[in-house]
Amino acid sequence: MLGGILVKVTFVLCLTSVLSYFLHHLRGTPGALTLGRWTYRFAALAIVGTAATLLTLILTHQFQYAYVWSYSSRELSTPLLVSTFYAGQEGSFMLWTLFTSLIGLFLIRHSGKMGYESAVMSIYGLITLSLVLMLIAKNPFTYVWDNWAGEVKEGFVPANGRGLNPLLQNYWMVIHPQVLFSGFAAMAVPYSYAVAALMKRDYARWIKPATPWLAFAGLVLGLGIMMGGFWAYETLGWGGYWGWDPVENSSLVPWLVCIAALHTTLSQRKTGGFIRTNLVLTMLTFMMVLYSTFLTRSGVLGDTSVHSFVDPGMWVYWLLISLIVVFLGIGAALLVSRWKEIPWPKIHRQSSTSQFLDYFTSREFALFLGASALFLLAILISFGTSTPVITDILQGKKSAIDISFYATWSVPFGIAIGLLTGLAQVLWWSKSDRRSVLRSLSTPLFLALVSTIVVSVLVLPTFGMTFVLFGAFFALFSNIQVGARVVRGNPKFMGGAVAHVGLAIMILGFVASSAYDNKQTVSLARGTPVETLGYRLTYVGYQPMDNERYAFHVTVERDGNAFTIAPVMYYSSYSDGLMRNPDILNRLTHDFYLAPLSLEEPGADSVSAVTGVFHIGDSRTIAGLQISFIGFELPETHMTSTMSNQDLTIGARFSVAIAGSPAVQIVPAKHVHNGKVSDVPARFADRYEVQIVKLTPDTENRQNSTVEIAVSDLLHPVNGGASPDILVAEASVKPFINLVWAGLIILLVGFGVTIVRRSQEASHKNDLKEETS
């Protein structure tokens, strides 16, 4: 129980650190600062030790631990074995805690430079402490006999684990959760700075150290969301990169708020305004992380989604609620008590008409609108995701929202975000020179108009989509123009322009791949080509890949080029269900996506088979056939052959006739070879198949022996009677989906450039540099 003890030690150390730091913040006791610092460092060390313990238990197959037993097994490869560390709730909370504590080690130094250490670290320590508390409630070091007390004998060590869910057995599982949880962990830093600013009544300076963390959290979480989308698209076969699923939404919502906060903090750095907005948005970023965690981890969503949300028990449920209450309470209470004393910068006090107009044409106003759009979108998505909770309260039963809700709303938000992204870049801080703005606007506006007209003529988009396209093109050209100007000055300032170019490309990709996504369910009989969506598909057959999985080979032809893709389907004994992986034909301008649905095998179709039980001499009509059972056909050497393990065939002779035609005798049989029984069905009139289902011999009275047969009507007389198997799949063409991935990568590169620049600014004492972007 080393792990369990370490978790408790961590809790004590962390609590000491929080109290000491807070004491230092209140009284300035010098010893308290040292104590807080060192107890936090040791707490982080203890968390690293706890994580190492869990990892060791997993790698050495200690199946007496319930967590190790539940998610791993001896058959898993080492990378997958490592990934079982965070396959369950306990482990993923542990990963989150681990990253939080490691970031905390950097934060001690980082916040110290600004004289913010004791305030920031008392809040950040409290966050770490809450996560440690979660680990105590949801302990990954429980023995199987404690977990199932009374049912499993003490000291029992299972020989093997239950294994990892096959859905999680791929390389994305190995890297995706780490990225996502570093993003979640990093979002606690800006929150801590915002609360510290309120505690210290220092409303201007906190922005500077908080911004690079906000950008870092945005970059990492953005990367995590992208990986998740790619995983869903490429492996899970959700049909698209985004399904508006609660799990996906729960990482998107904090990201959107983070991006909104990033934009308004930029404004404060330039003009000194938006102090309250920044405090609120920065704190809400972290609140959204907590709320999303609550939605997906507490079991409140019930069974309203394709994901199974395991009920973690009352402890975790209430702990998650109290975390939201505590951190929301701290932020809100401080904000309310300090509200009046937070300065209103001069820039916001306008009275005359010209100043009024100046404000509307300033960059900070455009940024404010952009941030509002992002924030409202986040609220909307959060609202939609919370539907089961809301309907549970209002109607007493949980129901989910149709995903068309999100699709409908993304149109107006797409337009607003595109236009604002283009506009904000050409406006000036505080007061724009209108003539100069119009000059900068003319080229991008003209190019956007031309591009939109050209594209519209080619593909005839809907009314709403035309505006989304225009907005995206405008954002693209406007930011390329700005980027080209900045790169001649200082390339380090390019981050914003690059990120926005990426965003514009992404929106174009969203429009193309979702609004022009063609879908068709196809039934592919083996060997028969089917034309769909401009492609000619031929299902060739299936092949086993490994012990469980089967690859279904499909030839895809277009314009004389032929490719073979192989979606995968298999029955998983772990989840007792059919698993499906799509396959994708990647082209430059579009993806051809084939998601398998099922394999229909006519031979095994029990619906069309009719069964009947016969004694010798019985006559009966089955499936329109007059059938009489004449007798068993046993080989002479019956006894000796069973003894000597030789081949043995037991047949049953029937007389079969269709009304009006002469009777024919057939002999379906069972064949025994090396102890294995196989069926030898008999055919009648090339249309019916008779198969023995069950033989019940009675050696004492042969007249009591019975045979049960199944008669199937092979209604599809293809290839001389045997019907081919049919692969049912959903085929779709996703035009320009590469724009989504390319745009996202450009966006993240832009983030990277911004982080470098902002962290350099944060570490240099000299004040705000002149900015051109």
Binding site: W148, E151, V152, K397, V728, E730
Partner: protein, 131 residues
């Protein structure tokens, strides 16, 4: 300051009105067969698969047809666009999302979710089996 507050309130009010409207529109209610018949909106019909009645897949239309009984026990034909859903045979209950088609007297489902006895929560006897 005032301008910002006014603009923000206008945006928020408009947003709340349209938001609640579209929220109510797209909330997919759980209902029984009687409720599904009364509405033209997309609903979720909860019930069980009637195994005694025929179920089949039609490759030409790519539709799967089966019968389900709602929680009140009323039976209805369900036509699903696509193949039989995952774990259909094992499901303890099924939820069909779609609309009731009055002319054809069947429920046209775009999606069928299956509820299975949870395999994800480990059971004690499974631990014992492992030993």
């Amino acid at each position: 300051m005032k301008i910002k507050v006014i603009v923000a309130s206008v945006i928020v009010v408009a947003f709340v009105i349209f938001g609640s409207y579209s929220f109510l529109e797209s909330n997919v209610e759980y209902t029984d067969l009687a409720g599904a018949m009364a509405k033209s909106k997309k609903v979720q019909l909860k019930g069980t698969w009637v195994k005694e009645k025929p179920s089949s897949f039609d490759p030409s239309k790519s539709q799967f047809t089966f019968y389900m009984a709602d929680e009140a026990g009323r039976e209805c034909k369900v036509v699903l666009d696509g193949a039989a859903p995952n774990n259909f045979e094992l499901a303890t209950s099924v939820v069909a999302k779609g609309r009731y088609v009055r002319d054809g007297e069947y429920f046209h489902a775009s999606e069928v979710l299956t509820k299975c006895p949870s395999k994800y929560e480990a059971q004690a006897d499974e631990v014992k089996k492992a030993g």
